[in-house]
């Protein structure tokens, strides 16, 4: 059983890393023939870095669009970040100081993460416009994330699993040495869900995470008059003249 989990985890991690790398390479290698920043846009590279930082950390555009969606999504993503950082303790020995420090926050972040996801799903279910544009996979992805959060919280607050053994398993897994994993149904559900998420990441809308960095309307400098911007395929048209 432990061996099966270990192998599946290797496989899905590999799929995640290779798949994501491929997509990112695809984005990076696709030309951008024209200057299309949504203006007003920063006129310097530093300004672009700041704009992107505000976009990625604070969801600036979403804030302008809809406060409810912004609040729910900020709650979810912020909590998720804390939860992920908290999980570093399963992969480090000794546990880094700051990771130890955030443990209590990380545990409660699981609850706020679930609340955020619930809010986002409620919008999808009850707001007519959002319901109209939602596909089955949009709903299922929220269910999957809520399943991950709920199973994690169950192990933290209700039916404790043997976290020392879990940590032993993951430390060994990192060095390709298979250690026993507790035979716990909730833990199995938690890990399966996480693996499912990793596997679909490079093929789904979860690509919004790397995608935002490649969005020309957000990452271009507003300097078309000062500097000639020319892509390779467009330059070729010039030599044909």
């Amino acid at each position: 059983m432990s061996l099966l989990f270990a192998i599946l985890l290797y496989a899905t991690t590999l799929l995640f890393v290779v798949g994501l790398f491929q997509r990112i390479r695809g984005y990076a290698n696709t030309p951008v023939p024209l200057k299309i920043p949504t203006t007003p846009a920063p006129t310097t590279q530093t300004g672009v870095v700041l704009r992107m930082t505000r976009e990625v950390l604070f969801f600036e555009s979403l804030f302008k669009a809809n406060l409810w969606t912004w609040a729910m999504s900020a709650l979810f993503h912020g909590s998720l970040a804390l939860v992920l950082l908290r999980h570093l303790r399963y992969f480090t020995e000794p546990v880094w100081g700051w990771v130890a420090l955030i443990q209590p926050f990380g545990a409660y972040a699981g609850i706020t993460m679930l609340a955020g996801l619930g809010g986002l799903w409620a919008r999808r279910l009850f707001v007519e416009r959002i319901r109209y544009i939602s596909t089955l996979s949009d709903h299922l992805m929220l269910v999957l994330l809520m399943g991950i959060a709920a199973s994690g919280l169950t192990m933290k607050f209700i039916t404790h699993t043997d976290v020392v053994a879990v940590k032993g398993f993951f430390l060994g897994w990192l060095h390709f040495s298979i250690q026993p994993l507790p035979a716990d149904a909730i833990l199995a559900l938690h890990l399966f869900s996480v693996m499912a998420l990793l596997a679909i990441f490079p093929f789904s809308k979860l690509l919004h995470a790397p995608g935002v960095f490649f969005s020309p309307t957000r990452n271009q400098t507003d300097d078309p008059r000062e500097k000639r911007h020319l892509s390779a395929w467009a330059a070729k048209l010039e030599s044909e003249n």
Binding site: R23, G26, Y27, T30, P31, V32, P33, L34, K35, I36, T38, T39, P40, A41, T43, G47, E55, F59, S61, L62, K64, A65, N66, T69, S73, R123, E128, R129, I130, Y132, I133, T135, L136, S137, D138, I200, F203, S204, K205, L207, H208, G211, V212, F214, S215, P216, T217, D222, P224, R225, E226, K227, R228, H229, L230, W233, A234, L237, E238, N241
Partner: protein, 512 residues
Amino acid sequence: MADVAAPAYRIIPIIPALKPGAMEGKGPFVANEKINEAIGFPGKMAENWQETHDAVIAKMGELLSKYRSLKVYMDACVHCGACSDKCHYFIGTQDPKNMPVARQDLMRSVYRRYFTLPGKLFPKLVGARDLTREVLDEWYNYFNQCSECRRCSVFCPYGIDTAEVTMAAREILDSVGYGQKYSNEIIGKVHRIGNNLGLPGPALQDTLEGLEEDVKDATGIDIRFPMDVKGAEVLLITPSADFFAEPHIDSLIGYAKVFHATGTSWTLSSMASEAGNFGMFIGNYEQLRKIALRIREAALELGVKRIVVGECGHAWRVAYSFWNTLTGVGDGADANDRFAQMLQKQLDHRYKQPTHICEFTWDMIQDERLSFDKSKNDKHIITFHDSCNVARGSRMGDFAGGQFEIPRNIIKAVANNYVEMRDGTTREQTFCCGGGGGLLTDDLIDLRVKGALPRMEVLQETVDVHGVNFMATICAICKAQFTKVMPIYGFDRRMVGGVHQLVSNAIILGDK
């Protein structure tokens, strides 16, 4: 026109309920064989559907490999709904397929089916669908209900710009002989005659001479409207509507007065008598480039030092954002970039190239080379409608947001009464007039009237509160659209006009 009625106003802010199918239909008139073939597109769709199907998918693959925007935007949308209540066509028509996300999904569903693994394996699950004739007809209808105004892209957390998707869709449709009559016919005219309105050189010369006489009668001063003058300092590129349409022509007179009062030598070009570039509307890079190249040729031939662009929204986006790329009108080309250097060496880089007429006028006002009698505009209580392509696709001046400040500064310099419309409907959040992006055609009048509704509602509010009686704007399409639809909403058509129309009213000519 009698059968077109204005929809009722509602309480602002407005998030309308959905009316599925409200704007279903065949879309605008389809371009005929002659129109399409004149600009190098297939005349009509293949008899055999499979042939069209394969060509559409192949073209989509090609565009995905040429445009990072399209590739990222097809993947990144999470259906969060941030854009869902932002499109003026959705707010005005309530058709859910006019929500930006739903419009993109018309294409995204096909992308998922043919270009992604989950869509190939589980189409139902991820909302993927086969490309059928019905799907293509739906594309034609709804991608011709987008004015490429980019309002949605302001609010998208990933910056997804529906304009990019619409342009790709129209490019694909054109590539299989399913183009739109209005845009393609105009592109043919600009190549054949030199401007969108099909006004030949001699007729244009006559018009300008007539204009000189009219202005002389009105002011007693010889204001020139020169054409094809070699060695002039400034080449003015302006939308051809400025030559005879109302109220456009009043702004053209305004530009001429500014040039006259500042002693600037300037010229128009008969070869490039059009700032508009409908190549952008149909998303076709080759057309966009070919149309823009006329300006390069005219600039080289006339040996001008500066290129100034008149009041035209999409033309300013093309000029500001794309001209340097397409034609070399700009600065900062590589030393060994001979194509761009040829022109850039000729231009005077103490000035931004190209320059918007508002930048030109504002610079002159700041240098105290113009003076005004502001009381000449006292009959107007003025508000300013930001045009979408200027607001969200370009800039003026040397700071971000100059495109908002400079036209307002000019208005305040030439008039005493100025008020803003409601926040959230101006500057980068401005509503499109409802007629941009290649939709300014009578066969889309129903859409145009409904698309103008959000702006009309806000304007009416400003009229009620502040007594506004003049809405200034710097776009030929805005002017044409508003003069057509505003009477339907019960406004006087003369309520809309250009910023340089106000400049023209107040400018003090003669010795200074």
